[in-house]
Symmetry: C2
Subunit: 555 residues, 2 copies
């Protein structure tokens, strides 16, 4: 009976797509030495997180065990994997390891949050390995959509675990290493204890297509257009940006990159020397000199982001360029669920300007960067793990992926965020449920998802906000009548009467009826005014607003 | 040269999918007699209309010409066509015409808003026609997804106009009349001046499939399931509710309808006698007696609505029924853009309960109620209109549909909301742009989209709300220090310091520095405190909140 154990604990990314953060531990129970794989962010939305700037995993569990953290490994430079490195470093203070291109991004995140970028160490790809405590870890190249994407090969006394990171099986991915089947077979040949595996596209039953398959289609499409062409994709989909640029040049156009994140990503790629074949491109200020039928813009904003280049072009001019009748806009991207309305709004604004919009046409102009179901099967068969632990997916993806593994005779484990699984022994065992959650970066402040701040914002948005003020003199007698200020509430009711007047009248009645014991007790007076305000508002407006009571005492 | 003219003016539904409202006029310019086709609603969302209950077209233009309105015609009983009848009647007061099933819904809307349901007149289908002023109008049956859907055949001295309403070309629609090609050819044979035509699916290049094609697939699917089956679709998609119920019975299950709108729609259908073949079903309180493998629930909430049956089942028990491991949930529906996140959240909640979720599988378990592009071509060719005016679509749909018409040698007219088009003479001419917009039903109050109420709600949600209070004595001197209340803002900054304390200190400094001219002037004092509060908040929180200033003067 072993006294040490190997554990797996997702703190983010298992049960959602975004803010990836996975912990592995090895050692005596409760004393495991820990490593972290990825520290990513996810993005807020108006429905659930209005006003929030960024969301990342609640790392309280890790911070409380800070002395046991050996290292942090980052699989690749997408925001949902590297985005929280800077924000969390102060709580973790463990050395960070990444490949060169990823490290450029990680260092920038560290600097943005006032930490020493030298804490980020560059690791060469497999067969190089890093020894940290009881772990030996290597970066095994894997095809995705950004340079130097890697799986983690994590060795302990318990054997080998492979954490795929994001991947697809692509033998011509354009950027990053092509999938090397032989290398993977070699790495797996002595047995793999567990495969922790990307689940994003488990519901897609088609075999995945190579990035190289979309280039010719996009070239043909651009060549057919008579006016200016703009194309958008995620700036961080470096493979697609390259595919688009090459297609533009192939179709005889001058390529112009627009949007800050687009420029930053290409700069980093060129700094790292991982985009040797990226074609020449011009800056937006030079674009005016190019006849529009010879111009191709590659722009940010494929998800309808309001401040990105595509939204600005849809609304009018951006950096001196505007799109008109006869121009064409290609969305070489898939819309992430939740972003549809914003994307469609842009399509309609472009339509109003006479611009033809082309979506991905069911994959003709876009392929995913993640493995489809048949490719997951290839990965399972290639690595032959004892167990498959699906990650990088919502609950339904994890469950389906585990079922897929089971259907192929392997052990499939559904382990959503907070599920601590022991991988020791012959079968996985859930040993603990850990509290997990989300932390919000809100302006310059970090707040917990459960702090009530965002809840109050949502309530004000749904209910409006009424402020009730009352002056009370030294003898606890009301000085004048209560009055109200409205925010996000109608000023008049259906009869055209003043809402404030009616509510103030009702509040005055309530105060007059109140006994001294209420008037002298802040809490009771607050409660009285709040209740009266809500009831009065309900009768006059048909809704109960949020109420803030401000009692000023002359004392 | 004619001194009278025929005009078309969309007030809602052209440039959006929802809140349909189209005006036709005939007469001397500026004195046209008017009819209205449809008065529908659209639904709010958190992004743009938090807290709003319903949205319908701003009918100010119509209300100002109330004496010229001859009648209101309702094509069918979907909410985006009939939903605003009750809310707007007080401003319009014109007789309403509809077929029997639609009239049942229209009368309920009238009653809900305190109007006389007898103002709704029932009209038999074509060849019956109604004479209203210079118009002769008939209800021409057309296949859609709800009983008695009809196109409007609108005759004036200028000839015949056909307003399709919502439609698909379905020869076996299950409910409502099958598409009658011969009848349509007959109606169109003497020439059609303009076809005002549904554009929803213009981008779908496949020939539309009949409602009758999904029944067998759904039956087979249900028969394969071992546990309880629940299926959801729009309650107002009466055709699908019937298809699901018949499939359930065919697969040997007892069918139970759940959700208020589901029950109301089926009740109305049975009252109108338009669902003679709807199979027997049980009430939720009887469902407990049926073994779960013999039960099929048909429930509301296909769009992820939080209070609908499907969301409640996903969260736990609903009316005593809960879904468990081994059960199956079928979404026999398409998710409307903007609703994806809510629907997916339900899928994941069901997954967490061990319930298998089946989506429409690219149309295997769902067909649209609207005509695809090839079916639009059929409609154009069948009616051979001089001009096609696309409606019921976002701008991109209208534009694409007009292009389609042009490509077939007809005149295509893009006329979004507010575009008043004269159909007189040989070609359409835009004669006026009319201000249009949206009205919100908000609690019991109607507010304009531009009133600023919703804008303030959105700002509070995005920025938080700070209330600044100050007492000023009879001599315009501050009485004590200013203080702040926070709502939707963090209480402490990154250092753990109290945000209120810091802002109050800064406000106190500002007040101390203020001159008498500021302290005695409400407006200047408000401005001073607001600016100081925003700047102080920005330095301590990294964001500028909404600020309400409450100055109390002892005077």
């Amino acid at each position: 009976m072993a006294t040490e154990r190997l554990i797996y604990l997702p703190l983010g990314g298992a049960g959602e797509i975004g803010m990836n953060c996975y912990v592995y531990g090895y050692g005596a129970p409760g004393k495991e030495r820990l490593i972290v794989v990825d520290l990513g962010v996810t993005f807020p939305d108006m429905d659930t997180t209005p006003g929030v700037d960024l969301i990342y995993p609640d790392i309280t569990w890790l911070a409380e065990r800070k002395d046991r953290i050996e290292a942090i490994f980052i699989t690749h430079a997408h925001e949902d994997h590297v985005g929280a490195v800077g924000m969390t470093y102060g709580q973790l203070e463990a050395p960070i390891y990444a490949r060169n291109f990823t490290a450029i991004h990680a260092r920038r995140k560290m600097e943005e949050h006032g930490h020493d970028p030298a804490k980020v160490n560059v690791v060469a790809p497999w067969p190089e390995q890093v020894n940290v405590g009881p772990f030996t870890v290597g970066f095994l190249p894997i095809s995705h959509s950004i340079p130097e994407s890697s799986a983690m090969v994590i060795d302990t006394k318990e054997g080998r675990v492979i954490h795929t990171g994001d991947f697809k099986i692509d033998y011509a991915p354009g950027v990053g290493e092509a999938f090397d089947r032989d290398l993977w077979a070699e790495v797996a040949k002595d047995g793999v204890k567990a495969l922790i595996c990307d689940s994003t596209n488990v519901f897609n039953t088609h075999e995945g297509r190579s990035e190289s398959s979309v280039g010719p289609e996009i070239t043909r499409f651009i060549a057919e257009q008579k006016g200016m062409v703009a194309a958008t994709t995620f700036a961080s989909n470096v493979a697609r940006v390259r595919t688009l640029a090459m297609a533009g040049v192939e179709a005889g156009r001058t390529v112009c990159l627009m949007g800050r994140s687009m420029k930053r990503m290409i700069d980093a790629s060129q700094e790292a020397g991982v985009l040797p074949d990226f074609p020449p491109f011009i800056q937006p200020e030079q674009a005016g000199d190019i006849p529009r039928e010879n111009l191709m813009l590659i722009v940010t904003g494929s998800q309808g982001e309001r401040r990105a280049a595509s939204a600005q072009l849809a609304r009018g001019k951006f950096l001196g360029i505007s799109m008109d009748e006869g121009d064409t806009f290609l969305f070489s991207s898939r819309t992430i669920p939740g972003n549809e309305r914003g994307v469609i709004d842009i399509w309609n604004q472009l339509s109003e300007r006479g611009v033809d919009v082309q979506d991905d046409d069911n994959g003709r102009y876009h392929v995913s960067g993640h493995a489809n179901r048949p490719d997951l099967v290839v990965m399972h068969e290639l690595t032959k793990p004892q167990m498959v632990i699906p990650m990088h997916g919502e609950h339904r993806h994890l469950r389906e992926h585990a079922k897929l593994a089971e259907s192929m005779g392997r052990t499939g484990v559904v382990a959503p965020n907070g599920t601590c699984v022991s991988l020791s022994g012959n079968k996985p065992e859930t040993v603990e449920y850990v509290d997990t959650g989300r932390t919000y970066l809100d302006g310059s402040v970090k707040i917990g998802a459960m702090d009530g701040v965002v809840r109050d914002r949502i309530r004000m948005a749904l209910n409006g906000h009424m402020i009730v003020s009352l002056l009370v003199d030294e003898d606890d007698a009301p000085l004048g009548e209560p009055w109200v200020d409205l925010k996000g509430l109608p000023e008049t009711n259906e009869m055209g009467e003043s809402v404030s007047d009616i509510v103030e009248h009702d509040l005055d009645q309530a105060v007059r009826r109140a006994g001294d014991n209420v008037l002298r007790d802040d809490k009771k007076l607050d409660e009285l005014l709040r209740r009266a305000a809500r009831n009065s508002a309900n009768s006059v407006l048909g809704r109960k607003p949020e109420v803030t009571v401000v009692v000023s005492r002359l004392s």
